[in-house]
Protein backbone atom coordinates (compact mmCIF):
# COMPACT_ATOMS: atom_id res chain seq x y z
CA UNK A 1 0.00 0.00 0.00
CA UNK A 2 2.89 2.35 0.69
CA UNK A 3 3.60 3.39 -2.93
CA UNK A 4 -0.12 4.00 -3.47
CA UNK A 5 -0.40 6.17 -0.39
CA UNK A 6 2.81 8.00 -1.34
CA UNK A 7 1.33 8.82 -4.73
CA UNK A 8 -1.99 9.93 -3.26
CA UNK A 9 -0.25 12.11 -0.70
CA UNK A 10 1.39 14.04 -3.55
CA UNK A 11 -1.81 14.14 -5.58
CA UNK A 12 -3.85 15.57 -2.68
CA UNK A 13 -1.16 17.90 -1.35
CA UNK A 14 -2.82 21.02 0.04
CA UNK A 15 -6.26 19.40 -0.16
CA UNK A 16 -6.04 16.52 2.30
CA UNK A 17 -3.57 16.17 5.16
CA UNK A 18 -2.02 12.71 5.34
CA UNK A 19 -1.09 11.47 8.81
CA UNK A 20 0.76 8.17 8.81
CA UNK A 21 0.98 6.66 12.26
CA UNK A 22 3.13 3.70 13.23
CA UNK A 23 1.27 1.76 15.92
CA UNK A 24 4.37 -0.27 16.77
CA UNK A 25 6.59 2.54 17.95
CA UNK A 26 4.47 5.66 18.44
CA UNK A 27 2.68 5.71 21.79
CA UNK A 28 0.41 8.58 20.75
CA UNK A 29 -0.56 6.60 17.67
CA UNK A 30 -1.35 3.56 19.79
CA UNK A 31 -3.53 5.64 22.11
CA UNK A 32 -5.40 7.17 19.19
CA UNK A 33 -5.85 3.77 17.55
CA UNK A 34 -7.24 2.35 20.78
CA UNK A 35 -9.62 5.25 21.26
CA UNK A 36 -10.90 4.81 17.71
CA UNK A 37 -11.36 1.07 18.12
CA UNK A 38 -8.76 0.19 15.51
CA UNK A 39 -8.10 -3.53 15.67
CA UNK A 40 -5.91 -4.17 12.66
CA UNK A 41 -3.48 -2.56 10.26
CA UNK A 42 -3.42 -1.02 7.86
CA UNK A 43 -6.54 0.95 8.69
CA UNK A 44 -7.36 4.25 7.05
CA UNK A 45 -9.57 6.82 8.76
CA UNK A 46 -11.01 9.65 6.68
CA UNK A 47 -11.92 12.86 8.44
CA UNK A 48 -13.78 15.90 7.16
CA UNK A 49 -12.30 19.34 7.81
CA UNK A 50 -14.69 19.79 10.76
CA UNK A 51 -13.12 16.79 12.50
CA UNK A 52 -16.03 14.44 11.90
CA UNK A 53 -15.03 11.01 10.69
CA UNK A 54 -16.38 10.26 7.25
CA UNK A 55 -15.12 6.79 6.49
CA UNK A 56 -12.86 3.93 7.32
CA UNK A 57 -11.07 1.34 5.22
CA UNK A 58 -9.59 -1.74 6.83
CA UNK A 59 -6.78 -3.63 5.19
CA UNK A 60 -5.11 -3.14 1.87
CA UNK A 61 -7.42 -1.58 -0.63
CA UNK A 62 -7.47 -0.34 -4.19
CA UNK A 63 -6.27 3.08 -5.23
CA UNK A 64 -9.67 3.67 -6.82
CA UNK A 65 -11.42 3.10 -3.50
CA UNK A 66 -9.00 5.44 -1.73
CA UNK A 67 -9.53 8.13 -4.36
CA UNK A 68 -13.30 7.74 -4.14
CA UNK A 69 -13.22 8.22 -0.38
CA UNK A 70 -10.70 11.07 -0.50
CA UNK A 71 -12.81 12.88 -3.10
CA UNK A 72 -15.87 12.58 -0.87
CA UNK A 73 -14.22 14.47 1.98
CA UNK A 74 -15.52 17.95 2.70
Amino acid sequence: MEPVVDGLEKKYEGKVEFRRLNVESDQAAISLANSLGITGVPTFIFVNSDGVQAGQIIGSTSEAKMVETLDSLK
Binding site: M1, V5, L8, Y12, G14, K15, V16, E17, F18, R19, R20, L21, N22, V23, E24, A29, L32, A33, S35, L36, G37, I38, T39, G40, V41, P42, T43, F44, I45, F46, V47, N48, S49, D50, G51, V52, Q53, A54, G55, Q56, I57, I58, G59, S60, T61, S62, K65, L70, L73, K74
Partner: protein
Protein backbone atom coordinates in the same frame (compact mmCIF):
# COMPACT_ATOMS: atom_id res chain seq x y z
CA UNK B 1 -12.49 -62.11 12.34
CA UNK B 2 -15.06 -62.02 9.57
CA UNK B 3 -14.55 -59.36 6.86
CA UNK B 4 -18.04 -58.01 7.58
CA UNK B 5 -17.13 -57.33 11.22
CA UNK B 6 -13.92 -55.61 10.13
CA UNK B 7 -15.90 -53.26 7.91
CA UNK B 8 -18.18 -52.32 10.82
CA UNK B 9 -15.16 -51.68 13.05
CA UNK B 10 -13.57 -49.42 10.42
CA UNK B 11 -16.82 -47.53 9.93
CA UNK B 12 -17.15 -47.14 13.70
CA UNK B 13 -13.66 -45.71 14.01
CA UNK B 14 -14.36 -43.23 11.19
CA UNK B 15 -17.59 -42.13 12.88
CA UNK B 16 -15.81 -41.61 16.21
CA UNK B 17 -13.11 -39.52 14.51
CA UNK B 18 -15.68 -37.33 12.74
CA UNK B 19 -17.78 -36.78 15.87
CA UNK B 20 -14.67 -36.15 17.95
CA UNK B 21 -13.33 -33.58 15.49
CA UNK B 22 -16.60 -31.69 15.49
CA UNK B 23 -16.71 -31.69 19.28
CA UNK B 24 -13.12 -30.68 19.88
CA UNK B 25 -12.06 -28.72 16.81
CA UNK B 26 -10.29 -25.43 17.63
CA UNK B 27 -12.73 -22.73 18.72
CA UNK B 28 -10.87 -19.96 16.87
CA UNK B 29 -11.95 -20.88 13.36
CA UNK B 30 -15.01 -22.01 11.53
CA UNK B 31 -18.27 -20.37 10.70
CA UNK B 32 -20.95 -20.40 13.36
CA UNK B 33 -24.04 -18.60 14.55
CA UNK B 34 -23.78 -16.77 17.86
CA UNK B 35 -26.29 -15.13 20.16
CA UNK B 36 -25.77 -11.77 21.88
CA UNK B 37 -23.51 -13.31 24.52
CA UNK B 38 -21.48 -15.02 21.81
CA UNK B 39 -21.24 -11.76 19.91
CA UNK B 40 -19.98 -10.02 23.04
CA UNK B 41 -17.39 -12.75 23.51
CA UNK B 42 -16.28 -12.44 19.89
CA UNK B 43 -15.84 -8.68 20.31
CA UNK B 44 -13.82 -9.20 23.50
CA UNK B 45 -11.63 -11.72 21.68
CA UNK B 46 -10.83 -9.15 19.01
CA UNK B 47 -13.13 -10.13 16.17
CA UNK B 48 -13.50 -7.50 13.47
CA UNK B 49 -17.12 -6.36 13.73
CA UNK B 50 -18.87 -5.89 10.41
CA UNK B 51 -22.25 -4.17 10.20
CA UNK B 52 -23.80 -4.88 6.79
CA UNK B 53 -26.78 -2.57 7.19
CA UNK B 54 -27.12 0.76 5.42
CA UNK B 55 -25.16 3.82 6.54
CA UNK B 56 -28.35 5.36 7.89
CA UNK B 57 -29.16 2.36 10.08
CA UNK B 58 -25.57 2.26 11.23
CA UNK B 59 -25.58 5.89 12.30
CA UNK B 60 -28.58 5.30 14.53
CA UNK B 61 -26.62 2.81 16.59
CA UNK B 62 -24.21 -0.06 16.10
CA UNK B 63 -22.24 -2.62 18.05
CA UNK B 64 -19.05 -1.36 19.71
CA UNK B 65 -16.20 -1.07 17.22
CA UNK B 66 -18.36 -2.06 14.27
CA UNK B 67 -17.37 -1.01 10.78
CA UNK B 68 -20.16 -0.22 8.36
CA UNK B 69 -19.88 -2.18 5.14
CA UNK B 70 -23.33 -2.21 3.51
CA UNK B 71 -24.14 -5.59 1.96
CA UNK B 72 -23.92 -4.26 -1.59
CA UNK B 73 -20.35 -3.08 -0.93
CA UNK B 74 -19.15 -6.11 0.97
CA UNK B 75 -17.82 -8.13 -1.94
CA UNK B 76 -15.67 -5.25 -3.15
CA UNK B 77 -14.43 -4.08 0.22
CA UNK B 78 -13.75 -7.54 1.66
CA UNK B 79 -11.54 -8.50 -1.28
CA UNK B 80 -8.57 -7.00 0.54
CA UNK B 81 -9.35 -8.31 4.03
CA UNK B 82 -7.39 -10.99 5.87
CA UNK B 83 -9.30 -14.20 5.16
CA UNK B 84 -7.96 -15.90 8.29
CA UNK B 85 -8.98 -13.16 10.74
CA UNK B 86 -12.16 -13.59 12.76
CA UNK B 87 -15.17 -11.50 11.79
CA UNK B 88 -18.41 -10.91 13.64
CA UNK B 89 -21.11 -10.15 11.07
CA UNK B 90 -24.55 -8.77 11.79
CA UNK B 91 -27.44 -6.74 10.39
CA UNK B 92 -30.86 -5.85 11.80
CA UNK B 93 -32.50 -9.24 11.88
CA UNK B 94 -30.07 -11.74 10.40
CA UNK B 95 -31.33 -11.78 6.81
CA UNK B 96 -28.74 -9.56 5.16
CA UNK B 97 -25.96 -10.88 7.36
CA UNK B 98 -26.83 -14.44 6.28
CA UNK B 99 -26.20 -13.35 2.69
CA UNK B 100 -23.00 -11.65 3.81
CA UNK B 101 -21.77 -14.78 5.56
CA UNK B 102 -22.55 -16.90 2.49
CA UNK B 103 -20.61 -14.47 0.34
CA UNK B 104 -17.63 -14.37 2.71
CA UNK B 105 -17.65 -18.16 3.03
CA UNK B 106 -17.57 -18.51 -0.76
CA UNK B 107 -14.75 -15.96 -0.91
CA UNK B 108 -12.62 -18.10 1.40
CA UNK B 109 -13.04 -16.49 4.81
CA UNK B 110 -12.38 -19.12 7.44
CA UNK B 111 -13.51 -17.65 10.75
CA UNK B 112 -16.91 -15.96 10.92
CA UNK B 113 -19.24 -15.45 13.86
CA UNK B 114 -22.73 -14.73 12.55
CA UNK B 115 -24.86 -12.77 15.03
CA UNK B 116 -27.90 -14.25 13.34
CA UNK B 117 -30.55 -12.65 15.56
CA UNK B 118 -29.24 -9.25 14.51
CA UNK B 119 -28.79 -6.03 16.42
CA UNK B 120 -32.40 -6.19 17.59
CA UNK B 121 -31.27 -8.94 19.98
CA UNK B 122 -28.32 -6.95 21.32
CA UNK B 123 -28.78 -5.97 24.94
CA UNK B 124 -25.50 -4.11 25.49
CA UNK B 125 -24.71 -0.49 24.78
CA UNK B 126 -24.67 0.81 21.23
CA UNK B 127 -22.32 3.29 19.66
CA UNK B 128 -23.70 6.04 17.47
CA UNK B 129 -22.12 8.09 14.72
CA UNK B 130 -20.98 7.99 11.14
CA UNK B 131 -18.15 5.51 11.69
CA UNK B 132 -16.97 3.25 14.47
CA UNK B 133 -16.26 6.12 16.79
CA UNK B 134 -17.94 9.45 17.24
CA UNK B 135 -14.67 10.89 18.50
CA UNK B 136 -13.73 14.04 16.63
CA UNK B 137 -10.27 14.38 15.17
CA UNK B 138 -8.37 17.63 15.42
CA UNK B 139 -7.76 19.16 12.01
CA UNK B 140 -6.07 22.25 10.64
CA UNK B 141 -9.13 23.18 8.60
CA UNK B 142 -8.51 20.65 5.84
CA UNK B 143 -9.72 17.06 5.55
CA UNK B 144 -7.41 14.42 7.01
CA UNK B 145 -6.55 10.86 6.08
CA UNK B 146 -4.97 8.88 8.90
CA UNK B 147 -3.17 5.65 8.12
CA UNK B 148 -2.41 3.28 10.99
CA UNK B 149 0.37 0.91 10.01
CA UNK B 150 3.20 -1.25 11.23
CA UNK B 151 6.50 -1.91 9.56
CA UNK B 152 6.56 -5.64 10.31
Amino acid sequence: MKPKNLIWIVLGVIAVVIVGWNLFKPAGGGISNVDAAGAQTAIEQGAQVIDVRTAGEYQLGHLPGAVNVPLDQLETQSASWDKNATYLVYCATGARSASAVDMMKAAGFTSIRHFNAGIQAWTGELEKGSVSSSQKIETNGTPVMIEFFTTS
